[in-house]
Amino acid sequence: MKFSLGKLLLPLYTVLALIFLMVPIVYTFVFSFNDSLKSNITWRGFTFDKWLNVCQVQNGAVCEAFGNSVLIGVVATVAATTLGTMIAIALVRYRFRFRSQTSLLLFLPMATPEVVLGAGLAAQFLSLGVPKDMVTIILAHTMFCISFVVVTVKARVASLDPALEEAGRDLYGSATQVFARITFPLLLPGILAAALLSFALSFDDFIITNFNSGAVTTFPKYIYVSAARGIPAEANVIASAVFILALVLVVTAQVSRAAKEKRLAKQG
């Protein structure tokens, strides 16, 4: 057999790349079982304690931060997805003045460095005299998530054949019925993707949050602050749990889709 460098290098490269990607995740997961004291840097033995008593450390500060992040993420996602979907439909379907300019402006929050965005918002809240709390964080997150929602949903709206909605109207569907039974279900995959993206962006945002949160602590902020004096293993527990939850969701979606395709193929 002829010796081939490519045949050897490609698997090697793949394995190295995967290891590189996986090391931090595996580390986080493994050290969530570390029987640590204050800092969680050296391995001191295996325990389930951190998983079982996750909300007990520092009077439940980890869980409170996590709860804040989930709440902010959910509210900001719902707001940004609703507004963003409406904007996306308007931008694709209707002609109005400054339409293309609006489209362009919506890209700006994505292109602007987060530090600038966060500092700018903080300055606005300060000059308006708005106290920084949960509400300002939600406003800030909704603001930057809208852009991502618009971009994601717009692609879906553009690929939707207008004849489908016309057929709905032709078949005695009022405007509300056509939206509820045709437009919305057909846009749903795009809207869901946008919502997941929004939640993910909001959940792990640190920079903008840090400028606009005041005394409120979110999960990323908690980790950043505690990194100085040693991150407790409970943070690893929450991070691992989130990772596992995401993994389960993705795998379930894939499996159910494969099953559906198989069922359809059987029919056909």
Partner: protein
């Protein structure tokens, strides 16, 4: 129409002084049209002639700039699409991809709260012989099957008026024939009024009782298919509906029976009743299959027009018939369709030939041949809807 009720029979459609302008162009100049209840009416024309716009106006998907639309005597101009007793079979079929075939068909019934929508949907699917596929999604069906679902989804509502927007355009020849037959049968069975928009002249002629030929936002001529074919009124109709040999020349003699026209020195006689203009420069014509090809100069016959000699410049054999292109000096190229009564073509490229036809078969046009290109390319035919869509897409890409 009240919800919960079916239309009892087809209804008249009347368009009064319809005009439709889009930003930048006028799709329909001025349209008056009356389609009697129960008829199969075809609107025939090339792309951009305004036929799809007409259909969309009737469906309520566009609003007319001027004019009124009446269905069964009721003015529906200001009614929304979902309030009109009209259903459409879309060019792209527009089946809802997220619903089963059955739910697609039941959609209109459910919106109107008709009793027992599922049973009625099954019944409609049986009519198009697709009931066994009721549980499938539209994507799992072939083009012909999708077309039949689209048809079932429209007729299940028993509309007073059924609109068909080039529904057979995407099918291959054999399926098309089958569907044409099926449409005709269904129309006879359920007795609806059909308005069929197409750019396919053969489809229009075989299916419709009445054909209206549309060009540049106006109806050029309207009538039974045979009438349009045998006695076209304009050069556009003469060339869009089949092929024609057209000649232009001054009228040199005229009786109450016939006019004679000087075509580059050759005298051609046309019955006065079949000619629209009797003085001055006129354009006259004859269909290619009415011409007889002679390989020797025929003896004069007062009942026939004679032209020649000319030279055969092209012969194409197609089984049942042969098409010859004959070049006659000073007149131009003529098309001749000859049935293959003997084996193979009777003349060959370069042969000297004469052409003759029965005087009764000629026709005289109202306008001049030069006003229109001889053949309209309609390979780019698309509905206004798809044009809109593609313009939206390009705008998006540009943004």
């Amino acid at each position: 129409m009240n919800s919960g009720e079916f239309a009892s029979a087809g209804a008249d459609l009347e368009l009064v002084g319809i005009q439709k302008r889009f930003p930048g162009f006028t799709a329909i100049e001025h349209l008056d049209l009356k389609i009697p209840a129960g008829s199969f009416f075809a609107l025939l024309g090339p792309s951009g002639c305004g036929k799809t716009t007409t259909l969309r106006l009737v469906a309520g998907l566009e609003e007319p700039t001027n004019g009124r639309i009446l269905i069964g005597g009721t003015d529906v101009t200001n009614q929304k699409s979902f309030q009109r007793p009209v259903n459409t079979v879309f060019q792209s079929y527009a089946l809802f991809p997220h619903m089963t075939v059955l739910e697609n068909v039941a959609f209109g019934l459910r919106r109107r709260r008709i009793d027992d929508p599922v049973a009625k949907a099954h019944e409609a699917l049986r009519l198009v012989e697709l009931d066994h596929l009721a549980a499938r999604r539209p994507q799992q069906l072939s083009g012909g099957q999708q077309q039949r679902v689209a048809l079932a989804r429209a007729i299940v509502n028993r509309p007073a008026l059924l609109l068909l927007d080039e529904p057979l355009g995407a099918l291959d020849l054999k399926l098309r024939r089958q569907m044409q037959l099926e449409l005709k049968t269904i129309q006879e069975e359920v007795g609806l009024t059909f308005l069929h928009v197409t750019h396919d002249q053969e489809e229009a002629m075989t299916m419709a009782d009445t054909v209206a030929v549309m060009n540049k936002g106006r109806i050029e001529q309207m009538g039974a298919p045979e009438e349009l074919y045998e006695l076209p009124r304009t050069a556009f109709v003469a060339n869009f509906l089949g092929q024609s040999n057209l000649f232009t020349g001054p009228v040199v003699g005229s009786t109450s029976e016939a006019i004679s026209v000087d075509v580059a020195g050759q005298k051609v006689v046309v019955p006065a009743a079949r000619a629209h203009r009797h003085i001055g420069e006129v354009t006259i014509g004859v269909r290619p299959e009415k011409l007889t090809l002679h390989v020797t100069e025929p003896v004069g016959d007062v009942a026939r027009n004679l032209m020649g000699p000319g030279r055969v410049i092209d012969v194409s054999f197609s089984g049942v018939s042969t098409q010859y292109l004959v070049e006659i000096a000073g007149i131009g190229t003529l098309i001749v369709f000859a049935q293959n009564m003997a084996f193979g073509p009777v003349a060959h490229e370069g042969s000297e030939v004469w052409l003759s036809w029965n005087i009764e078969h000629g026709f005289g046009l109202e306008d001049d041949a030069s006003a229109e290109p001889r053949f309209e390319a309609d390979d780019t035919t698309r509905s206004i809807a798809t044009q809109k869509r593609s313009s939206l897409l390009t705008e998006l890409e540009g943004a």
